[in-house]
Every structure is written in C-alpha cells, then in structure tokens.
C-alpha cells in the first residue's frame, strides 16, 4: 500500500514538473499589463480621450523598442466615472480581475482617494498623473504632476503685480481638489496682504452656476480664481460667466488646453498655469507632437497637462522596471523614485517625497483655444508633500 502511494506521488511529481517549467516559460512570454482608470463618463470625459491616446502612444513606442523586460506591454482601460463609486469598481476590476501589473491613471481626487485603499490591498505600483491639491501620500503611489505649491503662486503673483487686482472671488467644485486648491490659494492671497471677498462651491457634477455668478457680480471682486473638476465644470462655468457679461480677470487653476478648445470663443483671455502646453518650444516636445500626429492623424486630441504626464509615467514605469530588473512591487517602487525620464515636459524624476520638481508656465487662452505662454519657471519644487514617506 505504502509503496503504491509513494509510486503514485512520484508519478504525479514527474508528470507535474513539466507543467511547472511550462508555466515559467509562459510567464516569460506573458504580457506586462498596465491598467489605466480614467473618467470616460462624467466630468473628466472631456479630457479622457486625450489621456487614453497619450497612454497608447507610450505603450506603442515601448513595444516597438522591445517591450518591458523583453515582454509585450498591453493596456487595460477602465471607466471610473470621474468619481469615487466608479473608481472602486474600476480598480477592483483592474487589480483583481484583470490582474494588471501596475496602474497608471489620471483621475479626479475623489476617484484617487477611493482607489488608494484598493491599490494598497493589491500591493501594485500606482502612478498618479493628474495635477491635484497635494498631500496625498501612499507608499505605492508616485505622482509626476503638479501640486498647488508649484502652480497657484504664478497666477496670483501675475494678477496682483501686472493686473493690479486686490480682491479675489474663489469658485470651486465641492471635493478634495476644489477645496484643497482654494484653501491654499486663500492662504497665499492673504499672505500677500490682499482680500478674498467670496468663496463658493458647487457639487462636482453640478452645472448650474447661476447663484454663484450673481454673487460674484454683487461682490465687486477685481478677479476670479476657479478650481473646478477638470473638464465639463470648467466649460459650463466659463460659458455662464461670459453669458452674464463677467469680464474681470479670470484665473482658472484647473483648465487644460483640450478643455479650453471646447470652450470656443468663451475661453478667450482666461489665465491658467500648468506644466504642459503644446506651444512649449523644445525639440523633445516637437518630436512628441509629431509622433502623436503620426499615430492618431485626424483623430488626435490636443495633448494637454492631463494627458502628457500619463505618457511620461508609462515610460517612467518602463525605466523603473528595467532598473529593478523585475516586476516585484517593492523593487519597482524603489526604482520609481530614482529614474529620470526625458519627455515633452523635460527631464522628470519623482524623487521629492514621491512627487517631482517641474517646469511651470503661466499662460493665457487665445481665441482659437491655444495657450500663449506669458512666463516660464524652471524646476519649481513641490515642497514637503509627504514627509512621512522616507
């Protein structure tokens, strides 16, 4: 009996061994899957197509150069509905059903905050590519986009010194980003000795700014600064402002070039600041724009400050995995803080407490939707975002 049991076990082991080596061999050929959650519906849906395109271009370029660790890279896109509920579904699907190797996403802060616990549970690297209100910290997350410390100052300084504004009205979407940005902006304005005469919020998906526009006009403010969710709220606010005849200097902290184009003539003269505009005059940016044009042709959506960081993040992930030599999360996370990728926004390294120093630009939207750069700031530091993360 015992002999036949041992014989049986040995036979099983002999039969199973080739299966083991076969799956190891299959591992080498299995693609590296990058998951991207983005707002295909909801507020961000205006910018989502450009984000997906930028991600796709990076993946195509990496595959043409041999992939990651010799393996093909594949993209899985999920719709996070631009909000927390959708993000939960999207991340569960990406991390636990599709079993992606990393998540690289441009999302609203509401979606990001809902996603972080899931990312922590799944223990995969997560690169967040959207500008946001700062101070979001998680050992699995790296951010290559700007935070208020890098952006707000340029707008407020320009308004007060070049346009002589003294009183400000603040308008935002009612969630982490809107409130966080405007809290920082208020402190900065007050520290400059100027006044904030109003601060109003609308829910993220809200599109009726009537009461807020009326309050703005009644307040007699010299200038308006807004920080709404990216995409639709920017357009509805601007349209309603212009329809009501509001002409005070308008600094929009959260508009990207793609959205500015959909505003049509209403977007003219809006001031904005960011880390990417298509008019950035460097050879690397021109090369990138040419590649986008070639890949997508007439379907190309304007690359913008929400889509270009996505392109750079995919490449940064590749460089990090190359440096780490494997897909092991801890090794990749260490490498992400060390690699530098030279992309359309210049050389970027996410080594400042998981954030990155960036070149920033202050611009003004023109009648055709493009952004004319008024001032440039090199290598702006993000400040102390996550002091507890090494």
């Amino acid at each position: 009996m015992r002999t036949s049991n041992r014989l049986f076990a040995t036979m099983l082991a002999v039969l199973a061994a080739p299966l083991g080596t076969q799956s190891a061999a299959a591992q080498d050929k299995a693609p590296v899957v990058i998951g991207t959650a983005v707002g295909l519906s909801g507020a961000n849906s205006v910018v989502a197509p450009s984000v997906v395109q930028a991600t796709q271009l990076a993946i195509d370029e990496i595959n043409a150069a041999g992939g990651i660790l010799g393996r093909k890279v594949v993209l899985e896109v999920a719709d996070d509905g631009s909000g927390a509920a959708g993000a939960q579904k999207a991340y569960d699907s990406l991390l636990f059903q599709k079993k992606v190797d990393a998540v690289i996403s441009m999302e609203t802060s509401a979606a990001r905050n809902a996603a972080l616990p899931i990312v922590t549970r799944a223990r995969k690297p997560f690169i967040y590519t959207s500008f946001y209100e700062g101070r979001s910290c998680n050992r699995n997350m790296f951010i290559n986009a700007w935070v208020p410390e890098q952006q707000v100052a340029s707008v407020v300084d320009y308004f007060s010194s070049k346009l002589n504004t003294k009183s400000y009205f603040l308008v935002g979407s009612d969630y982490a980003f809107g409130r966080g940005m405007l809290e920082f902006t208020r402190k900065y304005i007050l520290a400059k000795g100027q006044k904030v005469v109003g601060e109003e919020y609308l829910p993220m998906d809200g599109s009726d700014w009537t009461a807020i526009v009326s309050k703005l006009k009644a307040s007699g403010a010299d200038a308006l600064i807004s920080s709404t969710a990216g995409g639709a709220p920017n357009v509805t606010l601007t349209k309603q402002l212009r329809a009501a005849g509001v002409t005070v200097p308008f600094g929009n902290l959260a508009v990207d070039e793609g959205t500015a184009k959909s505003m049509g003539s209403d977007g003219k003269d809006v001031y904005t600041a960011g880390s990417y505009y298509t008019s950035i005059d460097t050879p690397r940016n021109k090369e990138f724009l040419a590649a986008m044009g070639k890949r997508f042709g007439a379907e190309m959506k304007t690359p913008n400050d929400l889509s270009v960081p996505q392109y750079e993040a995919v490449w940064a992930y590749k460089l990090a995995v190359d440096k780490a030599g494997s897909l092991d999360t801890d090794k990749v996370l260490k490498a992400l803080g060390e690699v530098s990728f030279n992309g359309p926004r210049g050389a970027i390294k996410m080594d400042k407490q998981h954030h990155a120093a960036l070149n920033m630009y202050l611009g003004q939207v023109q009648a055709d939707g493009s952004v004319k750069i008024l001032e440039t700031f090199q290598g702006v530091d993000p400040g102390a975002q996550c002091p507890n993360l090494k």
Binding site: S45, Y201, P203, T236, K239, A243, G245
Partner: protein, 277 residues
C-alpha cells in the same frame, strides 16, 4: 434685481421642464419616468443641430419634433398595452428611461459634450447686465403656457382632453377616442420634454444622464401642483424662487435640495398642494 431675474428665469426653466410631465400625469394618471430621458433626447437633438452646422435656433423646433416622435412611438409600443395597468405602466417608463439612456450612449458616446448657444452675451437693462439667453427663456416659457392654455381651452382636442382628464370612462362612453387623446398627450409631453432639453443645454452641457436631476425636481413640482397649468406656474415660481434664494444666501449645495425638501413639506401641510381644492 439680479436676484429677481434669477428667480424668474429659474421658474421659467422649471416650468418648461415640468409642463410635459404634468400633461401626461393629468390625462393618463401616470408619472412618466422616461421624461428625463426625453429631455436628454432633446438635448442631443440640439447637439446634432450644432454638429450639422445649422443655425442654433433650429435646435428648439427640431428637439420638439424629435421628442414628440419618440413619444409617439413609445406610446403605441409600450404604453398602449399597459392602459389597464397604470402601476406597470409607471414601471415601464422607468425601464424605458434606462433603455433610452443606453441607446444614446451607444450612438453618442458617454462623454460630456457642448452645444452652441443661439444667444450670446448679456444685455444691460434696469441698471444691471443679465444673460440674454436666460432672459429669453421667460418669454419662451410664457409662449408655451399660452399655447397650451389656448389648446386646452380653445380647441376641440383641448376639450376632448379635458373630458378625458375629468372622467375617462365616461368620455369613452360618449364616443371620444381616448386612445387618440392619450397618443396626442404623450407625444406632446415628450415633445415638450425635448424642447426643454434643448432649452437648457446651451447653458450647461449634454451627457447621457443629464435628464435625471431634472426629472427628480420636475416630479416633486408636479406632485405639489395638482393638474392645472396655472397651479404648475405658481408651484414653479414658489419652488424655483426658494431654490435661488437658498443657493444665494446659503450655498448652492443646499439649494439643490430645496425643491425636494420644500415640496415634501408643502404636501405634508397641504396635501392638495397648489391646486385649487
């Protein structure tokens, strides 16, 4: 002054949205939960007009026609078999709303899109400047009221409709084709919803779910306003003004709740709402 205009224009917009729902409720005694979906259809009709490059003013009649056509098809296919089962009919409209929303998503994609406004800029009068498009909504809503009122009181269809509202079985016994009346009413209600959708989109945006928040508010207003178009106007004025006042003096987030909460309170205090008892 701006505040007063805000209240009037908000009431006018609410009236446009709720009128179609009220008519269907009055004649068919059911709440058409697909009203928000017809609103969305109207919004997308306006989008099509923008894409085709036509003059944006065309979006209003086109949206009305498209909404009305959808309503007619829906009435014959979905509502007619359910005449004897009003509760099931209400459920059917809810399902219809979901189906229409998904069909729109299939054709137009989930993203938020924008429509060109027929009237841009602000006009100065009485010491303030105000959005000319918003001001335009007031005469348009009044025109809709006027037309509906004339139709109800001055035309044969209106007479027949009022008979059906009062007592459908008796009307049928008198030889009135109640099926025709229901078809006409539902199509008109859907057409009005489409018109309202085209009316609101230049101020905001179009997306497959744009009708939902409007449906909730319209539903509460119709509940509070009884059956007459005049009491609907009063309800819109009161609730719309309350929303603007709360949004202005407190904050817009509470403002969004006002109509629903106030309607519930009114019904508690006076169950017949604004209807003349």
């Amino acid at each position: 002054m701006t505040l007063v205009l805000d209240m009037l224009t908000t009431a006018a917009i609410l009236y446009g949205v709720a009128a179609g729902l009220l008519i269907v409720f009055g004649v068919m005694k059911i709440i058409n939960f697909a009203h928000g979906a017809f609103l969305t259809v109207g919004g997308y009709a306006a989008l099509l007009v923008t894409h085709l490059g036509w003059n944006p003013w065309w979006s209003l009649p086109v949206a009305f026609a498209v909404g009305g056509a959808c309503g007619a098809i829906v009435e014959r296919l979905v509502m007619k078999p359910l005449y004897k089962r009003p509760l099931d009919a209400i459920l059917a409209t809810w399902g219809l709303a979901i189906v229409i929303g998904q069909c729109i998503t299939l054709v137009f994609d989930r993203g938020v899109q924008f429509v060109q406004s027929p009237l841009t800029g602000a006009i100065d009068f009485l010491g303030i400047s105000y959005s000319s498009y918003r001001l335009f909504v007031i005469p348009l809503s009044l025109a809709v009221v006027g037309l509906l009122g004339w139709m109800m009181n001055g035309s044969r269809l209106g007479l027949v409709t009022r008979a059906v509202i009062m007592n459908e079985d008796l009307a049928r016994a008198l030889g009135i084709n109640t099926g025709m009346v229901r078809l006409a009413t539902f199509s008109l209600g859907a057409g009005l919803a489409g018109l309202a959708g085209a009316l609101i989109t230049p101020l905001s945006s179009v997306d497959p779910n744009m009708g939902v928040p409007w449906l909730v508010n319209a539903f509460m207003i119709v509940m509070v306003s009884g059956v007459s178009l005049v009491s609907l106007g009063v309800a819109c004025l009161v609730l719309g003004s309350a929303q603007v006042l709360v949004s202005t003096w407190a904050n817009p987030i509470l403002g969004g709740l006002t109509i629903v909460v106030l309607a519930a309170v009114i019904l508690r205090v006076r169950p017949e709402g604004f209807a003349r008892a």
